[in-house]
Amino acid sequence: MSFSLNILADLQEIWRYQFMQNAIEAGTLTAVVAGVTGYFVVLRKSAFTAHAFSEIGFAGAAWAVLSGISPLAGLLIGSNLGGLGIALLGRRAINRDTQIGIVLAFSLGLGLLFISLYSGYATQTYSILFGEILGVSQAQVLETMAAAAAILLVLGLVYRPLLFASLDEDVAEAKGMPMLALGMVFMVVVAVAVSFAVEVTGVLLVFSLMVTPGATAQYLARRPSTAIAASVIIALLATWTGLFLSFYTSPPVSFYITGEVFAFYLFVRFVYARFRGERLSQGSLLRPPVDRSG
């Protein structure tokens, strides 16, 4: 397949392949969910936590492969148990990175054990680690769609209390918000989102869709709704262009997605934000200078 400068013709060519259609559909759904969820993951500073239970999910998936059941089921079980466990440890557990790191390392070891016990080919495990979006079936697309709908519905329901609890835990608690329940709901949402994002990016690269777009969006917009929209757009563009580029070149989709979101993050963080900061401080020549001493 060769790449032409006629993008429309290229897209038509891509769309003729069923596996590419599936990949685009699953990728789109995953990017939307990961973009929305990722904003909260970053806001709650639980990126490491989310990563940890994706690795617990890996152990679950490896165990599922060994037991002959669907790796997705194993992923869901593993990541949900991990997420709920961390949520139950309490509100300050999110910052206990030492304990989380210890559990993470053990989970990877457990996953390794399950792989070594498995006598068949380990390709399934490899795809869990690094993603296999081009191998997504139509049934998987439907599963992803159901999960995406459920996640977006739940996040819509808890949207404002979750924002409040994420930004100002103490006041939200004093206002009678069910902090433990909110934390648990959020962990389950992330666990499910991670499990499906793994199909696209794999356990090890899931950050690229779950964290980087959300982190970048925080520099682009100060209103949560706008930032969430930006996060979704970044995740979508990276997924679509990743699929497109990977179709015509040899590097895998996951590489393109991780590379693109990383490059864009660097640009926003160091070029855009600085340029914007400069413009703001120039503007302050007209107003009294901002005093940050007190």
Binding site: L43, K45, G156, L157, V158, Y159, R160, P161, L163, F164, A165, L167, D168, D170, V171, A172, E173, A174, K175, G176, M177, Q218, Y219, R222, R223, P224, S225, A227, D291, R292, S293, G294
Partner: protein
């Protein structure tokens, strides 16, 4: 005559928003303070003083319904405290907000109203209007679109005050809002709180380490030390004999010609602590 006094006492109690009788609090069997009696009326500005660990924040936790008293009774608006009471605005003790937080201040203040509502409602903007008027009351309108992580300590306290005011509370609980502020910002914030107390008829309880900047504003002082609590007008509470009785050791309260007080003889000085 006795009947008259009794009646006026009942009337007094009725007009009081917060009434405690023989109240005690503690954690896991350990008493923090006990035998506390106080009553605060509408529009009173109360300073809460005492050494670290005396149980000042514990008093707030009891009022917020986050912690049950271990004895005695406490009534807010005529009923026991409960968590999530919308009549209370609360500013917890915090030193800082993460500098990476890029959310604008207006959004946090809005959540003071809408953060307790479930579901997603892109249509109503009543929380936005309420947020703007709370920002104005806290003298923080100019900060509305600034990001939370970039605020100074004084600016942040104004935002927290707005967040507490946005639900139109009758009682404000401010836990050490003056720590980390320099003298000018301390004075500015106290003027703001005082304006809110006077203009909105809000009862404000403010935990502080230094009584002096508060003296021109407060109606009452609560002094917690040594497992006990004493309440009254500042000039009644802050006397050598009163604090000596409270601490159980000799304490001197000295006054300078400007009315500033210095408390001598206890480990914790409540004069000028930087």
């Amino acid at each position: 005559m006795a009947k008259l006094i009794a009646e006026s006492a009942t009337a007094q109690v009725k007009s009081d928003l917060i009434v405690a009788e023989d109240l005690s609090a503690g954690y896991g069997g350990r008493s923090v303070w006990s035998g506390a009696n106080f009553s605060f009326g509408r529009g009173e500005f109360v300073a809460i003083l005492g050494p670290n660990g005396a149980g000042k924040t514990t008093l707030f936790r009891v009022l917020l319904g986050l912690q049950h008293p271990t004895g005695g009774t406490i009534q807010l608006f005529g009923s026991p405290p409960r968590r999530g009471n919308p009549h209370i605005g609360y500013v917890p003790q915090r030193h800082t907000i993460d500098t990476e937080t890029n959310v604008e201040c207006l959004e946090l203040v809005r959540l003071g109203v809408s953060g307790t509502r479930w579901g997603f409602n892109p249509v109503t903007h009543d929380d936005r209007d309420a947020a703007w008027s709370a920002l104005e009351a806290a003298g923080a309108s100019d900060l509305a679109h600034r990001r939370l992580g970039a605020l100074s300590g004084g600016e942040l306290q104004r935002i927290f005050l707005a967040e507490a005011l946005v639900s139109n509370p009758d009682v404000l609980l401010l836990d050490e809002p003056l720590s980390n502020l320099d003298i000018k910002r301390e004075t500015d914030l106290l003027h703001l709180v005082n304006n809110v107390v006077r203009s909105r008829g809000v009862t404000a309880l403010l935990i502080a380490h230094n009584i002096n900047p508060l003296l021109p504003h407060v109606n009452k002082v609560v002094y917690i030390a040594n497992g006990k609590m004493t309440t009254g007008k500042p000039q009644e509470v802050l006397t050598s004999e009163n604090l000596t009785r409270l601490y159980g050791i000799q304490v001197e309260v000295l006054k300078d010609p400007h009315g500033n007080v210095a408390i001598i003889g206890v480990e914790e000085h409540h004069g000028d602590i930087p």
